[in-house]
């Protein structure tokens, strides 16, 4: 009986074995240059959440004010009480506890954290989501690729990249997507568009080129395409099972997080979901308790859900606000603005979970002269944080994770060249270099 593989051919196959090391090399290389994340979800904690009552508890400190810490799924890492569900997901989460910014005002701080630059009168920097949409391909998405759900006063904007990169604003996903439904029967609606051609034709006469240059009609067509797109259903969380909706929590923010997951599935690049109410100058502890009860199920469910759908590797989730709050408690039982040592949580998208970067000094006081020196970049950081991570470094990390060249030089409309980020990615946060 002839063997299935002759000796000769076996030799031949053996000859091909020289390929094996290459194959493994390729596989390893593929692993090393793992695909960057495709989407970013920003859980925006408007008002500046207290790090002490969320991601950076110091129960032993005299400034704790009774806040306790709970153990998490990762040994040695604790969260503040009130985040038990998130604690279970700790293996996927990296905490940065040593964030510093130089802006202690809500509006200026928001701009700083959302763009990675302090407000600059000479150039309006784009938000990170806008940069991502600008740099990454559109990939067949009919709906806006940059979405802001429950947007606050200062939603993410396109800055010098242009307002076509502004986030699309959306309220509680329990309601409809604004302005995407014609208020007319189809027939009348379609006839109106035909009528529009007549008016457009008259206007274009003698100014065809400049009229085309306005892209008005193209934009109308794009808007119509969006109105009829199946992808719009991604906003509709009522299509999810009751169990899933319950997991995220029956709150606008919970629905926002669920919509964010659905949007990412259809190719949206960046979703910002806002949870306002963190500006706790008064009764900090009781307000934080209420806020945590909203944040905890939503954030934890988002991580779990993305993981189960094998989307977590491709989706970076980041949670934080414009600054943190003072370690000391003021006479009204509140904590005030504190940009020198606050926390951010990151999960998925190639970020190495189950770790903590940096630590804060829970006894730092607000009227310390050192704060001013530090804000002015004159050193003294160690009084507040260890292993400082600046806003610039955070923005570089986010962009890098999404595969965007964070230090790419970009021409602004006035001809000035600026980088997308002035920071460096935090290596320790990344799975691969």
């Amino acid at each position: 009986m002839e063997p299935l593989i002759s000796r000769r051919s076996a030799l031949g196959l053996a000859g091909a074995a020289w390929l094996t090391p290459l194959a493994t090399q390729l596989a390893r290389a593929a692993e090393k240059t793992r695909e960057p994340a495709r989407s970013l979800i920003v859980l925006w904690m408007q008002g500046g959440p207290s790090q002490l009552e969320t991601f950076d508890p110091h129960p032993e400190s005299r400034n704790a004010g009774g806040t306790k810490a709970i153990d998490t799924a990762v040994k040695g890492i604790q969260l503040a009480e009130g985040l038990p569900l998130l604690a279970e997901q700790m293996e996927s989460i990296a905490l940065v506890r040593s964030m510093t910014s130089k802006e202690g005002d809500h509006e200026r701080g928001t701009t700083t954290l959302k763009t990675g630059f302090r407000p600059d009168p000479t150039v309006v920097h784009p938000s990170i989501g806008a940069i991502i949409c600008h740099e990454l391909p559109a990939a067949g998405t009919d709906i806006p690729r940059h979405v802001s759900i429950l947007s606050s006063q200062w939603p993410a904007r396109g800055g010098h990249l242009g307002d076509q990169y502004d986030a699309f604003l959306m309220d509680d996903p329990a309601g409809p997507v604004p302005n995407t439904k014609s208020f007319l029967p189809t027939k009348r609606d379609e006839q109106r568009l035909k009528d529009l051609d007549v008016v457009e034709g008259a206007f274009a006469k003698g100014r065809r080129k400049t009229t085309d240059g306005t892209l008005h009609r193209q934009t109308v067509a794009d808007a119509r395409k969006m109105m009829s797109s199946e992808q719009l259903k991604a906003f509709d969380v009522s299509q999810e099972s009751a169990a899933v909706r319950k997991m995220y929590g029956d709150t606008p923010f919970g629905r926002g997080c669920l919509a964010a997951r659905r949007l990412v599935e259809v190719g949206v690049r960046c979703v910002e979901v806002t949870l306002a109410g963190w500006d706790t100058h008064v009764n900090n502890h009781s307000f934080c308790k209420t806020q945590n009860a909203i944040l905890d199920p939503a954030f934890a469910a988002l991580i779990r859900d993305l993981k189960e759908r094998k989307l977590l590797d491709h989706t970076l989730v980041v949670c934080g606000g414009e600054f943190g709050r003072t370690p000391t408690i003021n006479p009204a039982g509140g904590r005030d603005h504190w940009p020198t040592g606050f926390s951010y949580a990151l999960a998925g998208g190639g970020v190495k979970g189950g770790q903590v970067i940096g630590e804060t000094n829970p006894d730092a006081v607000k009227d310390d002269k050192a704060a001013m020196l530090m804000m002015a970049g004159r050193g003294g950081v160690e009084k507040f944080v260890k292993d400082e991570v600046t806003v610039e470094d955070l923005s570089a990390t986010l962009l890098h994770t999404l595969g965007v060249e964070y230090d790419k030089l970009c021409q602004t409309p006035i001809g000035r060249t600026v980088k997308f980020s002035n920071g460096q990615p935090v290596k320790k946060l990344l799975m691969m270099g």
């Binding site: 202690g104 005002d105 509006e107 200026r108 407000p119 009168p121 000479t122 309006v124 806006p144 006063q153 904007r157 242009g162 307002d163 076509q164 502004d166 699309f168 604003l169 604004p178 302005n179 995407t180 439904k181 014609s182 208020f183 009348r188 006839q191 109106r192 009528d195 529009l196 007549v198 008016v199 457009e200 008259a202 206007f203 274009a204 006469k205 003698g206 100014r207 080129k209 400049t210 009229t211 240059g213 306005t214 892209l215 008005h216 009609r217 934009t219 109308v220 794009d222 808007a223 969006m226 109105m227 603005h337 704060a371 001013m372 970049g377 004159r378 409309p413 006035i414 001809g415 000035r416």
Partner: protein, 542 residues
């Protein structure tokens, strides 16, 4: 009948009349204040002619044909949008057309310049340049107070240099002396709420001088001859401004900056980058700076203002960006561009006539370039656009879009004298609309295309639906009932929304559409309104 009875009956009759007038005001017919049109002085004419000559020379040099003159109604729309943020009402168009052709546009411009709507709208546009759109520090900054103050001053036609001096050097509380909000918007909580000299210096140079000196904040200017020392010296003029119980005052002390390299503090004395001889000897530092900035011999102040006024009327500045007159730096021997020549002429006239903003608008509006059509029977090239041989297309600002929409939905003029409820409604609707449409921010002359959310708002938005639907308050239904023929109805709708009459082709199409019996007459007019509101023509200045 005694005198007392007689008095009593007078009182009763008077009371009834007053009540009646208040409940049912007589139809407001505005008198045509043609007499108020100032006779254009010879000097104004000469300035306009000088501009026209330079323009024509530039066109001839490049062998460009200019577009034909635009129709009067189109020019009226441009003026109305630029200076009041809305379109002419049907009522106003009627008055306009009742005047002899040679007087119409002059009358219209004066009518606008005297209208409170214009002062308020321009105040907002100036405010964007000088304090931006930010909400600013809580309690210490009242943007609305500042804009109202600007509006009041513009309504009085206060000379522009006075306004600017008041902003730079004003003292007092930001609530009492609203001009000081110019200073308090830069208050920094981390510095005990003290104003920020660096930001103020940046604002002053950009908004009032058209120089981006603040690029020299971190490094010497890449192109121009400004250095970091110049910028720091300029900032030092705000180094003694203090915020205290009495609001903004000048104190004493030194302005210190930190060296970027050595990280050491050093004292910086105030100094200006050019024209030192224009500085007065006395007054606080801010007083001195205010005089220097607005000095008739400071070459930049009048030029920067002229460039901005041009941008307000044309939708784009002579030199872009509007706050950067010298991106390439000063070189005395370089050949002057057309824009430079025009700015020189405009600035000279502005300076010699007491920094009168209204006069500046009159001059620009009277130029041939402003009266050109945006369409032509030849191919419009970039060269035509650069040389202003055709009127440029520019996207309307959100306030202009909503202003035009609300006005076009009403036959009567919605103005500052309208009923308070009308105005309050307009205020609320305007804010909601602008939020959905997307504000343009500080950089209002940035050339940008439209966005998808803007189209969605105009196609499907609540306000559009409310204002076009068949209802007694809306122009569409009023037209449906008052127009004797379909042709007349089409014409009225075009006049209300686009400020022009339909072409024969459009007339034919829409009269046929108005004949359709599947929809009510109200619905047919509503559809026509929707169509016109969603056209390129409606959303762009042209």
């Amino acid at each position: 009948m005694g005198v007392r009875d007689w008095f009593f009956s007078c009182l009763v009759v008077g009371g009834v009349l007053t009540l009646g007038v208040n409940l049912m005001p007589p139809a407001r017919t505005k008198p045509l204040d043609v007499a108020a049109v100032p006779v254009p002085d010879a000097e104004l004419k000469a300035t306009v002619e000088a501009i026209n000559i330079h323009m024509r020379a530039a066109w001839a040099k490049e062998s460009l044909t200019s577009a034909p003159p635009a129709g009067d109604l189109l020019v009226a729309r441009r003026l109305s949008l630029a200076l009041m943020g809305t379109v002419p009402s049907l009522e106003e168009i009627r008055q306009f057309e009742s005047l002899p052709e040679t007087e119409r546009l002059d009358w219209w411009l004066e009518h606008i310049l005297r209208d409170r709507r214009s002062a308020d709208f321009l105040a907002e546009r100036v405010a964007r340049a000088v304090v931006g759109t930010e909400d600013g520090p809580f309690l210490l900054y009242r943007r609305r107070r500042f804009v109202t103050w600007l509006g009041d001053e513009l309504a009085k036609n206060t000379p522009y240099d006075h306004l600017v001096r008041e902003m730079i050097a004003g003292n007092g509380l930001w609530t009492d002396h609203p001009s000081t909000n110019f200073i308090t918007v830069t208050s920094r909580s981390e510095e005990g709420n003290q104003p920020d000299p660096i930001r103020l210096a940046g604002r002053v140079t950009r908004a009032f001088l058209g120089l981006r000196l603040d690029c020299a904040q971190c490094h010497d200017h890449p192109f121009a001859s400004w250095t970091q020392d110049h910028f720091e010296g300029f900032a030092a003029y705000f180094g003694q401004a203090r915020l205290g119980f009495k609001g903004i005052q000048d104190g004493d002390g030194q302005f210190e900056v930190e060296d970027r390299k050595t990280k050491e503090k050093r004292v910086v004395e105030p100094g200006v980058p050019f024209g030192r001889e224009l500085l007065p000897k006395d007054g606080s530092r801010r007083d001195q700076l205010a005089v220097w900035v607005t000095h008739p011999k400071n070459p930049y102040f009048a030029r920067a203002t002229a460039n901005r006024a041009w941008a307000i009327l044309f939708g784009r500045p002579l030199i872009a960006p509007v706050d950067n007159l010298e991106p390439q730096g000063v070189s005395p021997d370089k050949e002057k561009t057309l824009a430079d020549q025009l700015l020189d002429i405009l600035a000279d006239d502005f300076r010699r006539h007491g920094h009168d903003l209204r006069r500046l608008f009159r001059v620009i509006a009277a130029t041939e370039a402003f009266r050109r059509d945006s369409a032509a029977d030849f191919d419009i090239t970039d060269a035509h656009e650069r040389a202003w041989a055709v009127f440029p297309l520019s996207r309307l600002r959100p306030e202009q879009v909503v202003g035009a929409m609300l006005q076009s939905a009403s036959i009567a003029t919605i103005d500052a004298e309208s009923h308070i409820v009308t105005r309050l409604m307009r205020y609320g609707q305007t804010n909601d609309f602008i939020k959905a449409y997307g504000d343009t921010g500080d950089d209002e002359f940035d050339e940008r295309g439209g966005t998808i959310p803007q189209r969605l708002v105009l196609m499907n938005g609540e306000l559009v639906r409310e204002r076009t639907k068949d209802g007694i308050l809306n122009a569409s239904s009023r037209i449906a009932s008052i127009a004797p023929t379909d042709a007349k109805a089409v014409e009225l709708a075009y006049l209300c929304v686009l400020g022009r009459r339909p072409t024969s082709n459009e007339m034919e199409h829409f009269t046929a559409r108005l004949n359709d019996t599947e929809r009510t007459r109200g619905q047919r007019l509503e559809d026509l309104y929707w169509t016109l509101l969603n056209s390129t023509e409606f959303s762009w200045n042209h």
